[in-house]
């Protein structure tokens, strides 16, 4: 019997489940990883033993995991949510088969995925996301390559580049789409977290000392390789409109880690019918929430970057606030008790969100980059749909992303549009005036690809009871 279901085991989800359980609610946390942590606090395999100091992020993740373990919250780990229904019912696929959960309250804390800008060669093996490089370094103890180009936008650039260099690899260059002025403009907000600002500066200084060039206002325009593996990239400076200049420069490398910011995962909330709006400075489409993090659907709460990018620390605080709202609505806490506990959290959240919002702006979508995608470049990786076919569909009348998907198959493949969705929507938005007008891919179950057999199991046809036919 669950009172509060928390979906997503990152900082928001861990804090929400721990807070709910600590105040006496039956809380269940569902996450697809074997250990909670999400992406930012992603844990290493349990079989790896940490001997040294792995830094403040690792410590923060361990602290939350410990709090969660001590709270009494039930953990449903290694389970993939594939459907949610109002009321609420959540269907998952666990390692040993399908599970179903029912609860009057659900806290969605599903975090973000990475934004990608297609370019010729981006589908080549050896090209990985920035978030993927982070996972390799932090959670799997792998070096993405010996000579890595680190490219894209946002705070992950410094983290990945520094992580590679610290682990014995070489970073050929950091290719940062943001111009120096964009970073400087965020100065006042970055000062809200002097510790994080100093850490980022220390990373960049260490990279400078190692002779790693940091090219502001530049982008990777192509990746080239021989036998199916990346061997070099091509870069260009961005002009005043943010478009790649025509002069291109090659850089040899054996790996490319590239990503352009984070996009909130809102498929669960959309499947439930929560109203969403497009807010570029929060990462994209986000669900409407009140000050207590309630959505407009009774019993549904949204916390963390999945409801709008504010950063890891704000995410943890939001998890606690969402849990308090749910506890108050369920009657487990009185409204006054909940408000009293929430008050100091709100103050912390405001301060934490100031830094997070600076980061969110630095990694917001850059429409000019999508405009520059070459006609022959693959946009939808799963279905091999090049830009030219997307343009043709728009010329033929496709006016939102779902029409475009039906016309071209872009977004129809196994990734369900999670990788190409930003590019597809930007290309449509160019013609219909805004991302809001271009819309979102309709959310439908299953939210993740599943083998049918895993849901229905195996059976003999002889086992199916066949009722007697009705008399004629």
């Amino acid at each position: 019997m669950t009172d509060i279901l928390v979906i997503g085991g990152g900082p928001a989800g861990m804090a929400a489940a721990a807070t709910a359980a600590r105040h006496g609610a039956h809380a269940t946390l569902i996450d697809e990883q074997a250990r909670p942590g999400g992406q930012v606090y992603r844990a290493m395999p349990a079989s790896f033993a940490v001997a040294g100091d792995l830094g403040p992020d690792h410590a923060a993740g361990e602290a939350l995991r410990a709090e969660l373990a001590a709270s009494g919250a039930r953990l449903a780990l290694g389970e993939r949510v594939w459907n949610v229904r109002p009321g609420f019912r959540v269907d998952t696929l666990a390692r040993d088969g399908p599970r179903r959960y029912e609860a009057p309250a659900v806290i969605i804390a599903t975090g973000t995925t990475e934004r990608h800008v297609p370019f010729p060669g981006w589908t080549m093996p050896g090209v990985i996301g920035l978030a993927a490089a982070t996972i390799m370094l932090k959670a799997q103890r792998l070096l993405p390559g010996r000579r890595v180009v680190v490219a894209g936008s946002g705070p992950l650039l410094a983290a990945v580049a520094y992580g590679i260099v610290k682990s014995g690899g070489d970073v050929v260059a950091v290719i940062d789409a943001a111009k120096r002025a964009e970073w400087l403009r965020q100065g006042p907000r970055l000062l809200a977290r002097p510790d994080l600002l100093m850490r980022g500066s220390a990373w960049m200084a260490a990279l400078r000392r190692k002779g790693v060039p940091w090219l502001f206002g530049h982008v990777v325009t192509a990746a080239r390789g021989g036998s199916q593996q990346v061997e070099a990239v091509e870069i260009a400076a961005l002009d005043r409109e943010g478009k790649p200049a025509s002069t291109r420069r090659p850089l040899d490398c054996d790996a490319l880690a590239i990503g352009y910011g984070l996009v909130p995962n809102c498929d669960l909330a959309r499947l439930l019918g929560a109203p969403h709006a497009y807010r570029a400075e929060r990462g994209g489409w986000i669900a409407a929430r009140d000050d207590d993090l309630r959505s407009s659907l009774p019993g549904l709460y949204l916390a963390g970057d999945g409801a709008g990018i504010s950063g890891a620390v704000a995410a943890e605080i939001e998890g606690r606030l969402a849990a308090l709202a749910a506890l108050a609505d369920l009657g487990t806490l009185s409204a006054r008790e909940a408000a009293g506990l929430a008050a100091p959290l709100r103050t912390h959240r405001r301060r934490a969100a100031r830094f997070g919002s600076a980061m969110a702006e630095l990694m917001a979508a850059r429409p000019a980059l999508y405009g520059a995608i070459a006609a022959g470049c693959t946009v939808c990786r799963c279905e091999d749909v090049p830009r030219a076919e997307i343009d043709a569909a728009i010329d033929a009348g496709a006016r939102d992303v779902n029409q475009l998907k039906a016309w071209t198959r872009a977004g129809m493949g196994p990734c369900q549009g999670k990788i190409c969705g930003e590019a597809v929507a930007s290309l449509v938005a160019e013609h219909v005036g805004s991302r809001q007008a271009a819309g979102m891919f309709t959310a439908r179950p299953p939210l993740r690809p599943l083998p049918t057999e895993a849901l229905i199991g195996t059976f003999d046809y002889a086992d199916i009871p066949i009722p007697k036919p009705a008399p004629l």
């Binding site: 395999p45 790896f48 050896g126 978030a131 693959t378 091999d384």
Partner: protein, 96 residues
Amino acid sequence: MIERIRNADVSTPPAVVIRVDDREIEALPGESLVAALLASGRLVFKHSPRADAARGPFCLMGVCQDCLVELDGMPVLACQEPVRAGMAVRLLAPPR
């Protein structure tokens, strides 16, 4: 080349053997299957449906589906599957 980071900060368990197609490779119990495959030098996991272009792991977080492999007859994402000694994996497209 993708390689393992070895330093004193983290100690890993002794390697075990797993089968990938007709080869045996070393892997660390508990690490993700995609990490073991990448560390063994495998970058190409399959080919795209229309252009027959090489594909390999891209997102490492269960989103891109490019690390799909066959394990015990079922399609699984290598990035979501922990290594167990003796597991037998088939790649969807053997190397060309």
